[in-house]
């Protein structure tokens, strides 16, 4: 493949940093062999969720499947912080969320609710090293907790616990150049 352009900037530029609040993150283990012959397995799971999908992402989960995460644009009502997976499952069902698992396609349900999102895009992010490192480093330095991070193409998405998105956005705004700050040199 030919490389015909190079890129460098003293401080990483973003087109802007956006935050969203009042979201919910649904996570579960998905076994591939369970979805092979099932129809509507995902739409059934989400059928009781009142909202639109913002993000879907996953990592491998043993033995043959994915730990799948779905970020929805509305917080689920009446879900309280609970500890064990079994309690979460029971509470999800008893709280009228009723995620449909009649096909038994998922296990290990976890609901993080509400959560918040901070996201940004920038020039040629998909081709450049150090972008995600810069983002998670500045958040770690400021002790802003992360629930998840997703990057594809020129976009970076960071999911935080409730009440932390503004803190994350401010921290990122110090480390990255935005149209508002217009910084072109690293902070001394």
């Amino acid at each position: 493949m030919e490389t015909f352009a190079v890129y460098w900037e003293p401080i990483i530029k973003t087109y802007d940093i956006t935050e969203r609040t009042g979201l919910s993150l649904i996570s579960f283990d998905l076994e591939f062999n369970r979805i092979c012959d099932k129809e509507s397995w995902l739409t059934k799971i989400a059928s009781r969720l009142d909202g639109s999908l913002i993000l879907i992402f996953s990592r491998p989960a043993l033995p043959s499947g994915l730990r799948l995460h779905l970020l929805f644009d509305r917080s689920l009502k009446r879900v309280e912080k609970i500890n064990s997976v079994e309690d979460k499952m029971q509470t999800a069902q008893s709280m009228d969320i009723n995620l449909d698992n009649s096909d038994g396609v998922f296990s290990g349900l976890r609901i993080d609710n509400p959560v918040e999102l901070v996201y940004f895009q920038g020039p040629h992010y998909g081709d450049r090293y150090g972008i995600v490192n810069a983002a998670i480093t500045v958040l770690a330095e400021r002790k802003v907790p992360l629930i998840a991070a997703v990057c594809t193409g020129a976009s970076v998405y960071l999911i935080t616990p409730a009440g932390k998105a503004r803190e994350a956005k401010n921290a990122l705004g110090q480390a990255f150049s935005t149209p508002k700050t217009g910084k072109s040199e690293p902070k001394k």
């Binding site: 190079v6 099932k38 995902l42 993000l55 594809t152």
Partner: protein, 166 residues
């Protein structure tokens, strides 16, 4: 009935060049911060990232170009016991997904039905990216094409050039 009528319209497909998927294993003694810091120090781009802390520690996957593998192995040597590297990996990106769960569900089911591995998923507001076996990218296109209708004369975009950060 016209078979395209039951297909879900999308704008296009994009395929990656050959990748390596690095996974930081759960419950390791190392943090993703250390992994990404070492990759950045060696100027290695991580093209696709999916991390979660639902097991209380941020862990997950990142993809690098296959040509950076040897450099990454050196960079991540101190973390060798905490990571695994999967290759050859290729990514297929479907755009726009328009938050259609039905589209995502049918694509994942089609991949599984065809015996194609799905190593990871990452999405943005517009694009859905799946990682699979690089050698089976054309088969992945066939599986996805059973589900979606593409604009007339559209062929999946393949990487032709890239911008390199110095």
């Amino acid at each position: 009935m016209n078979p395209t009528l039951s297909k879900l319209p999308i704008g296009g497909l994009k395929l990656s060049s050959e990748l390596v998927q690095i996974r930081l294993l759960p419950n390791s003694d190392f943090s993703v911060n250390e992994m990404f810091s070492r990759l950045a120090e060696h100027k290695i781009n991580v093209t696709i990232v999916s991390l979660d802390a639902t097991d209380d520690q941020l862990t997950g996957i990142g993809c690098i170009l296959a040509e950076d593998r040897a450099l990454a192995e050196r960079a991540l040597l101190p973390l060798a016991a905490a990571i695994d590297m999967l290759s050859p990996v290729g990514a297929i990106t479907i755009f726009p997904h328009q938050s259609r769960l039905l589209l995502i569900e049918k694509i994942l089911s089609a991949m599984v039905q065809d015996g194609l591995p799905v190593y990871g998923i990452a999405s943005s507001h517009s694009a859905l990216t799946l990682t699979t076996d690089y050698r089976q990218l054309d088969n992945a296109v066939s599986a996805v094409s059973r589900i979606v209708s593409l604009p007339e004369n559209h062929a999946p975009f393949r990487p032709e050039f890239r911008v390199k950060q110095i």
